[in-house]
């Protein structure tokens, strides 16, 4: 993502702080923390050039556990703080750590605006479909009818589809991973970091205290194979036991087909191409309730990656151009202005 290369090779341990990690035992955040710490040495960025910025919520404690620069800001505003930092210091590697309440409820506005400006930063959206720190109210990603402390008769809120929302804001990188598939998570984290622009990585994260098992269907060995669809660049969309199922595009609509009979073969399938915005849009709609008959599997991996100018770079270009055109600012000339008079 940025800056000078290292003269000494760091290890994951170099990114661990002396602060005791205080998430609940069994929280999915532990795994995400570990995977982030383990991929950073390979990015080649110096520790002092990395900044983690978070909002408020369980996940937002994250910066305290990273031996880099960090700021635990206020609820929903991490992306806004990070935007200012990127404008000030484009060379820094900036990571935003946020949750579903932090980024999609109180901070929804900043999220979409940061995404459209396409600052070169990474946003890790820990989605556990619940408010954990405030002890168990429904969040903007909780499913309809969710019974929580604040919705004893079930939630009346229709949930956000985070990746569709972000793509709607013209995100240049959207991806999904989960806390329990650590190798896949590391791969996607690395790709998010490699992306030049705002990368938005939604991570399904289990809150074992207030919303245990929300994503079990995608993480449990038994169901994962049928329910999770792993996107691989240039490869056909296949899933199921021994990849016995695939997705085809039928008149522009996705359809699950059986590859075990002779009607369809791998050649017929939708081939993943993360540069195709139309297909990425379709992939974000693979968002059915898994309990529904005939539902599509939930995709994981990089949905979409595109190149678009970064705000901070374009701003720097304007600053340079202004100097080129007008010359470096002359304060005395500015203070006097064009029209002066002298009292003798």
């Amino acid at each position: 993502m940025s800056t000078d290369t290292l003269d000494i090779q760091l290890t994951a341990k170099d990114f661990v702080t002396d602060q005791e990690v205080r998430w609940c035992p069994g929280c999915g955040d532990y795994s995400i923390l570990k995977q982030v710490q383990s991929i950073l040495p390979d990015t080649g960025v110096k520790k002092e050039d990395i900044v983690f910025i978070s909002g408020i919520g369980c996940s937002s404690r994250f910066p305290y556990y990273m031996n880099t620069y960090g700021m635990h800001s206020i609820h929903g505003r991490a992306t806004a703080v990070a935007s200012g930092l990127k404008i000030a210091r484009p060379e820094l590697s900036v990571w935003v750590i946020t949750g579903d309440g932090d980024s999609l409820s109180i901070g929804g506005n900043h999220l979409i605006h940061t995404i459209r400006r396409n600052f070169n930063m990474n946003i890790l959206l820990f989605n556990n479909e619940i408010y954990g720190l405030t002890k168990g109210q429904y969040s903007p990603t909780s499913p309809e009818g969710k019974v929580t402390k604040s919705t004893p008769m079930g939630s009346l809120d229709h949930p956000f589809n985070p990746l569709a929302l972000c793509l709607g804001a013209d995100s240049t990188f959207i991806a999904r991973a989960m806390d329990r598939d650590v190798k896949h998570l590391r791969d996607v984290l690395t790709r998010a970091n490699d992306h030049v622009g705002t990368s938005l990585l939604e991570i399904y994260q289990n809150c074992n205290v207030f919303n245990d098992g929300a994503f079990e269907i995608y993480t449990d060995k038994g169901s994962k194979i049928e329910e999770a669809l792993f996107l691989e660049e240039g490869q056909p969309l296949v899933f199921g036991a021994e990849n016995n199922k695939g997705i085809i595009l039928n008149d522009g609509y996705p359809k699950v087909v059986d590859l075990t009979n002779d009607s369809y073969s791998l050649e017929d399938l939708w081939v993943h191409d993360s540069s195709d915005r139309y297909k990425a849009q379709l992939l974000t709609t693979f968002f059915d309730n898994p309990s529904l008959e005939g539902h599509l599997p939930r995709p994981f991996g990089v949905f979409y990656a595109a190149d678009r100018f970064r705000y901070e770079e374009a701003l720097k270009d304007q600053l340079d151009l202004a100097v080129e055109k007008k010359g470096s600012g002359d304060l005395d000339a500015l203070l006097s202005g064009k029209n002066t008079w002298t009292v003798a």
Binding site: Y69, G70, S73, I74, A82, G84, I87, L92, L319, G329
Partner: protein, 618 residues
């Protein structure tokens, strides 16, 4: 026929018309020309609430008042010598501002049946006997403008748009002004449209010549150059001065300027102004909302820039939580509030000083923050520069309070040279070597100020945030003793700023006596004028204007106690007066005007006279 030239000491003119009549431009041009000529000037633009209210209505009247003089002037004037009214509504709204026997210049075309009806007149006031007390000059400006441009082949709408130049030319003749500066301005403004240059200059000259040839006047007037202190001057508006102050502070601190802002009246002009200075390395960021504006500034400050955010009252309310974060982080941040009438949306285009309590106490928790205000349009430069100095040198967010009156008002400014401005000392933590002691982000120096440790600096990796910090380490702490100690030290840090600010001075009058008028902010000019007038009339009264409100200058309490009575005029319902009473336990009295318009000199004089009476009776 050569006309007699009559000398005037000072003159107040109010230009009034529809908001589309170019009134602000006319007033600004007259001001700049007078300033260039050497007069002292003070202006007061009075905008309508709507950008283009229906034509000819009372709600759509835009006004621009200025006082110019051969002596120092500190206010735009209480009452006017001349009223220029482009239509009946403008006439109706402003007639009460005109002094008896004053001059009215009207565009008769703006008094047709439709205009009269819109202004609520049954018959034309121009034919009314009540106008006998005034000198009325009636000109069909629309017709004269059309006649001047008859060969230009322009549409009626375009022609009518030049009417303001006729008025301007006419007044230039009346007050013996040079039309060259305005001609130059027209050439620059319409550089890409030669036809408009020609048309506007034609109409300007037509107005001037009409004054000369029409026998309207038996005499012209002259207002000699003022004897201002020696030096080179320019004319400047408050928001413009604030923008320049920020650029200067950037230069003198060696820090890039970051300005995070969201459009709001009357603060937006600072954003417009700064966005032009990219060749000074100024980064302006128009954020998605007020909260992002302040948060982006916090991010930029964390990265080591001179970070500023600005708004008006409603926007400041939204920024409150983030300002609290900056207090916890102990990083530099300048927050500008160009105050307007409140509460809620209030009166956006009108002035008020009602956000002092908000600046002082408008955050959750114990959240002390320095506050500095400016006294006049040009003083916005010094005040915002000082806000930047305090923010950077004391690692704290700082409020700078301006208001709509001084933000849009203008006056001559004896601008400083870059060399004469103080250097702002930046104290950044240095790279840490292997054997150096552990870096402590919240370790303080003797002023209780911590180091600014910038990302990218080797060995200083650290985490800060809004949760209570542990002494020295800055780690999270819920320890009861630590919290009390941290709350106390944050307050002591702000209080200690009093060591680095000037002592309070008496602006006029003796340093003890019966009555002290204590003001803050844009009331400076009117209090100064009123106190001067009272002293000249043998009344014992003194004037002091506080710029540093948090912390106060160290000697303020002693100074106040040397007077039997302290009166505090404010454009609010009594805010500084509460703080003064709280801090110094003195029986200060509030003089309050909450009308969205500044005090008049007469109102302050009356308040002084009443206070003097009360002291005598006691």
């Amino acid at each position: 026929m050569a006309k007699v030239v009559e000398e005037k000491r000072e003159v107040t003119i109010v230009f009034a018309g529809d908001s589309g009549d170019g009134i602000q431009l006319t007033g600004t041009q007259f001001t700049n020309t007078s300033a260039l000529f050497g007069n002292d000037v003070s202006t007061f633009p009075n905008y309508p609430a709507e950008i283009r209210a229906p034509q000819g209505t009372l709600a759509g009247v835009s006004g621009f008042q200025l006082q110019f003089g051969s002596v120092e002037v500190f206010t735009p004037g209480d009452i006017c010598d001349v009223l220029v009214a482009m239509n009946a509504a403008a006439f109706k709204v402003n007639l009460s501002r005109l002094k008896k026997h004053g001059t009215i210049i009207v565009n008769t075309d703006g008094f047709n049946a439709k205009n009269l009806k819109l202004a609520g007149y049954d018959s034309s006031p121009l034919e009314d006997k009540s106008l006998e007390d005034y000198r009325t000059i009636q000109i069909d400006i629309t017709k004269m403008t059309q006649a001047a441009l008859v060969d230009m082949g322009m549409g009626k709408k375009e022609v009518d748009r030049s009417r303001n130049m006729f008025v301007l030319g006419f007044l230039y003749y009346m007050y013996s002004r040079d039309i060259a500066p305005t001609e130059q301005y027209i050439k620059e403004k319409f550089a890409k449209a030669p036809t408009l240059i020609e048309a506007n200059i034609k109409v300007l000259r037509a107005g001037y010549n009409f004054g000369d040839t029409s026998e309207t006047f038996t005499s012209r007037y002259n207002v000699k150059a003022a004897q201002l202190p020696k030096g080179t001057y320019r004319n400047i508006m408050g928001n413009q001065a604030a923008a320049l102050g920020l650029v200067a502070a950037s230069k003198k601190s060696g820090l890039n300027l970051f300005y995070g802002s969201y459009p709001i009246t009357p603060a937006s002009d600072i954003l417009h102004e700064l966005s032009k200075y990219k060749n000074f390395g100024v980064k302006t960021f128009q954020a998605e909302d007020e909260i992002a504006a302040v948060c982006s500034a916090i991010g930029s400050s964390f990265g080591g820039e001179l970070a500023v955010t600005a708004s008006s009252g409603p926007g400041i309310a939204l920024k409150g939580e983030a300002i609290g974060l900056a207090i916890m982080l102990e990083i530099p941040l300048v927050v500008i509030n160009v105050q307007r009438g409140g509460p809620s949306t209030g009166m956006p285009t009108k002035t008020e000083q009602a956000d002092l309590m908000q600046a002082m106490y408008g955050r959750n928790g114990e959240a002390p923050m320095p506050i500095i205000s400016a006294n006049s349009p040009s003083d916005c430069f010094d005040a915002v520069f000082e806000a930047c100095r305090i923010a950077v040198e004391h690692m704290t967010p700082v409020f700078f309070l301006s208001d709509g009156y001084m933000a849009n008002g203008s006056e001559p400014w004896k601008f400083p040279s870059t060399d004469s401005l103080p250097t702002i000392k930046v104290k950044q933590a240095k790279e840490r070597k292997e054997d150096d002691p552990t870096f402590l982000p919240y370790k303080r120096d003797e002023r209780l100020v911590r180091d600014w440790a910038l990302p990218g600096t080797k060995g200083l990796e650290h985490r800060i945030g809004g949760i209570e910090k542990e002494w020295d380490t800055g780690n999270i702490s819920y320890d009861p003793e630590n919290h009390q100690r941290m709350v106390k030290v944050r307050a002591a840090k702000v209080a200690k700023i009093a060591d680095s600010i000037p002592l309070q001075e008496i602006d006029n009058g003796s340093d003890n006596g019966d009555v002290l008028v204590l003001g803050w902010g844009s009331t400076y000019g009117v209090i100064k004028t009123a106190v001067k007038e009272c002293i000249e009339n043998g009344i014992s009264v003194s004037h002091a204007q506080v710029r540093y409100i948090e912390p106060f200058p160290k000697n303020l309490g002693d100074l106040l106690k040397r007077f039997k009575t302290v009166i505090i005029p404010e454009m609010n319902n009594g805010q500084l007066v509460k703080i003064i009473r709280d801090k110094f336990l003195i029986d200060a009295k509030g003089i309050n005007k909450i009308k969205g318009i500044p005090f008049s000199t007469g109102e302050i004089v009356t308040a002084i006279e009443e206070a003097v009476e009360l002291v005598k009776e006691a």
